[in-house]
């Protein structure tokens, strides 16, 4: 009996220690995630303009979101386009670069630095640079193309080229993912390759049966992170639209009228959410948009993670 009580006391002490050690995270999680999430859910059911008290409107914000707001589905389509095109291309290019760098014999450090450097550029500065480089009238890219007899596209000024231009910007700054892939590729045991080679496996088979399974957890990580970042895609689209619309000197102060320029082609869901919440002061409606984004992000991540059990090989599993 006494021994059981002592065990119980020891268990409680352990639990208390765990709780104490976790408390900074618990406080942060509650204050910066739990509370805002609950408040967002509550405000999404209210008319709230930030200046007067919230007023209960039930599902009216959701009805407006899904059935009336003319920009909702445009923003959803643009965001899905970016996820569908940018994420696979980012993963592929990061993986490709990592493979090349893993095989490099000379100047490894220099190449790693060169390919990683763009990731250090702040997103606003990188976007400004891309918009100026791709300026259809004065930018160096179209100038070079015209010397070659090619009439360059309008890039960020053309709705059919604005998203591909953002994709190029995204691939240019793929350094962080590349470093993670490089670490994973270099971590694959050489013995596995040697065994495969002895079994007669060619380069493609070694890639298919050794490299990919070994780095599959990293692939999963890159895919999930890419999708979540895609759903939150904001800065580059916001700045590019403002600058391309003709506000080069006011990049940080884009007016609502130029959001999504040109022709709503860069209007991403988070950009629209920001506009409604902080420019139009419709925080109740913006909260409904945020809740929808939260549900979609959660569902997509869950789907990827559940599906990953079929293709991700965890060590020791």
């Amino acid at each position: 009996m006494e021994r059981r009580r002592a065990r119980s006391r020891a268990a409680w002490r352990r639990r208390r220690l765990v709780l104490i050690l976790m408390s900074p995270w618990l406080v942060g999680f509650s204050v910066f995630f739990g509370y805002p999430l609950v408040m967002s859910a509550y405000l999404s059911l209210n008319h709230y303009d930030l200046l007067s008290a919230p007023r209960w409107v039930g599902l009216a914000n959701y009805r407006y979101l899904f059935s009336v707001d003319p920009q909702t589905w445009t923003a959803v389509r643009n965001t899905l386009w970016m996820i569908g095109v940018l994420v696979p291309l980012q993963v592929l290019s990061a993986f490709g670069l990592a493979l090349m760098l893993a095989r490099a014999r000379a100047g490894v450090g220099i190449f790693r630095t060169i390919f990683y450097l763009p990731a250090l550029a702040p997103p606003v500065a990188a976007t400004l640079g891309f918009v100026f480089i791709l300026n259809p009238a004065t930018g160096p890219v179209n100038t070079i193309l015209s010397h070659l007899g090619i009439s360059g596209p309008l890039w960020f000024q053309d709705p059919s080229w604005s998203k591909p231009s953002l994709v190029m910007l995204g691939i240019w700054g793929v350094g962080n993912t590349m470093i993670i892939f490089l670490a994973a590729v270099l971590d694959v045991p050489r013995t596995l390759y040697e065994s495969a080679q002895l079994d007669g496996a060619g380069p493609l088979q070694r890639m298919r049966y050794v490299t990919l399974p070994s780095i599959s957890p990293v692939l999963l990580f890159a895919a999930v992170l890419g999708v979540i970042q895609g759903l939150q895609y904001f800065t580059q689209a916001y700045v590019a639209a403002g600058v391309a619309a003709g506000q080069a000197s006011q990049a940080a102060d884009v007016t609502a009228a130029s959001l999504g320029y040109p022709l709503d082609s860069t209007l991403m869901y988070p950009v629209l959410l920001y506009q409604h919440g902080f420019t139009d002061f419709q925080m109740g409606y913006a909260s409904a948009m945020a809740m929808f984004l939260f549900v979609v992000s959660f569902a997509v991540t869950l789907t990827i993670v559940l599906n990953s059990r079929r293709w991700v090989h965890e060590a020791g599993r």
């Binding site: 303009d49 009216a60 914000n61 259809p136 009238a137 004065t138 609502a256 139009d280 419709q282």
Partner: protein, 435 residues
């Protein structure tokens, strides 16, 4: 012992007297601190601070702390947090519907009445854009007035005698003044009607066509107001004459609007819709530019001479701690003819009371005089003040940008859908949900 007690008592009385006296002096010499938030920065902020100093000198009972570079986001955040200043101002009137409708800025009606300030001191347009829903929650503090800038040297070269007054003349002159490169791209443009270019927004272009946004019941009626269809058809035809892609590429190569490489200032655009402040910019950046100013050409001769007006508004946020003192300052800065004329001279905006537009203190300038006349014109107009704030006109602009790109095939149908969307947006902003 008695002497000691007497000495202590006397000392105590003396110290108390000194304390009371110094406290009274301190009370007399400590003025009420008023914090004033404004949107201006740099040179314009200095001019406003100078004006504030003049007020302070005449009113030693207050000490003004002027804070510049403020936008509507900061104003709303401060009101929410209960840390709003005593006086706030916004660069434009788009959000008046929100400020008045929510009570974020207090209704000035009773204060105006108590001070004998009548709305008749201000032109009708400025009265319109400083109220919403029967609440007068702001007053105008200088105004921006829009007209046509034209390059006289380019006009002379093209053999055009004077500024266009009708839409037909505007179209003909624009084509005459346009110069193309050998490959067909644009080298110089007569007038750029592209919505989104510099100051081009629908509410400034529709006025010379006589278009309005709502009917007598407050419902959007762009589809049934023929002015909208006429303006949009004219605008698209001119854009197509330039070539949509040509125009986009031309604009991409132009300098920033608020820089010395502004397209009108460097002669890339021969005519341009712009605000009165450009007069000061040209004087500072291209003093030798041979140009003129005129009202925008109008579809109806009776509208010629009018134009678009908007401008800085000033008010008092709710929960203010020094409302009477704040009101005294607001009253002085918005109605004192000398103050308005002085500030107008400094930042070259239009003074916002009828009396101040005739002030002898205004520095005469032929270019600027055009805008004073447009401001005083009873047919001049402004943006619609709606519960949904700036998002109302943004939705219209969004439609027009699609139209000018050729994405709207059925204009009447498109305008009809837009009307429904605008009404739904207003209903949503009022908290009424989907109508």
């Amino acid at each position: 012992m008695k002497r000691v007690a007497m000495a202590v008592a006397l000392l105590a009385v003396a110290l108390t007297a000194v304390g009371v006296a110094s406290g009274a002096a301190r009370h007399r010499s400590s003025p009420t601190k008023l914090t004033v938030w404004v949107g201006w920065s740099a040179r314009e902020l200095s001019a406003f601070k100078q004006l504030a100093a003049e007020y302070q000198k005449a009113n030693p009972g207050v000490a003004l702390n002027v804070v510049g570079s403020i936008n509507d986001n900061k104003i709303v955040a401060a009101i929410r947090a209960g840390t709003a200043p005593d006086v706030v101002s916004s660069f434009n009137s788009y959000d008046v519907g929100i400020y008045c409708g929510t009570g974020g800025w207090i209704d000035l009606t009773s204060l105006m009445k108590g001070s004998g300030i009548s709305t008749s001191m201000f032109p009708a347009t400025t009265n319109y854009y400083t109220q919403y829903g029967g609440k007068k929650c702001a007053l105008p503090l200088l105004a921006d007035t829009y007209g046509l800038y034209y390059n006289k040297a380019l006009f002379k070269k093209a053999g055009i005698a004077g500024p266009p007054k009708t839409i037909a003349q505007l179209t003909a002159d624009a084509k005459k003044l346009t110069v193309r490169n050998p490959d067909g791209s644009l080298k110089q443009v007569g007038i750029d009607p592209f919505i989104g270019f510099y100051e081009n927004v629908p509410e400034r272009w529709i006025l010379p066509w006589g278009g309005t946004y709502t009917d007598s019941k407050g419902k959007a009626h762009l589809a049934s107001d023929s002015a909208w269809g006429k303006w949009l058809t004219w605008q698209k035809q001119l854009i197509d004459w330039y070539g949509y892609d040509n125009l986009v590429k031309f604009q991409a190569g132009l300098g920033d609007e608020f820089s010395a490489s502004n397209a009108f200032e460097v002669g890339k655009v021969a005519m341009n819709l712009d605000g009165e402040w450009r007069v000061a910019f040209i004087k500072a950046e291209h003093p030798t530019l041979d140009y003129g100013t005129a009202p925008m050409p109008a579809a109806n001769p009776s509208l010629y001479g009018s134009g678009y007006i908007n401008g800085t508004i000033i008010g008092i946020p709710k929960n203010g701690k020094h409302t009477p003192q704040a009101w005294n300052f607001v009253k002085w800065v918005t109605t004192n003819t000398h103050a308005l004329a002085e500030f107008s001279n400094a930042i070259k905006n239009v003074p916002s009371t009828t009396a101040s537009t005739h002030s002898k203190e205004l520095i005469p300038d032929a270019h600027f005089a055009t805008f004073l006349k447009i401001f005083a014109n009873p047919k001049s107009g402004t943006s619609p003040i709606m519960a949904s704030g700036a998002s109302y006109t943004n939705l219209v602009q969004n439609f027009v940008t699609k139209w000018q790109a050729g994405q709207v095939k059925n204009l009447p149908g498109g305008l009809s859908t837009l009307d429904k969307q605008l009404d739904a947006q207003v209903s949503q902003a009022k908290g009424g949900g989907v109508p």
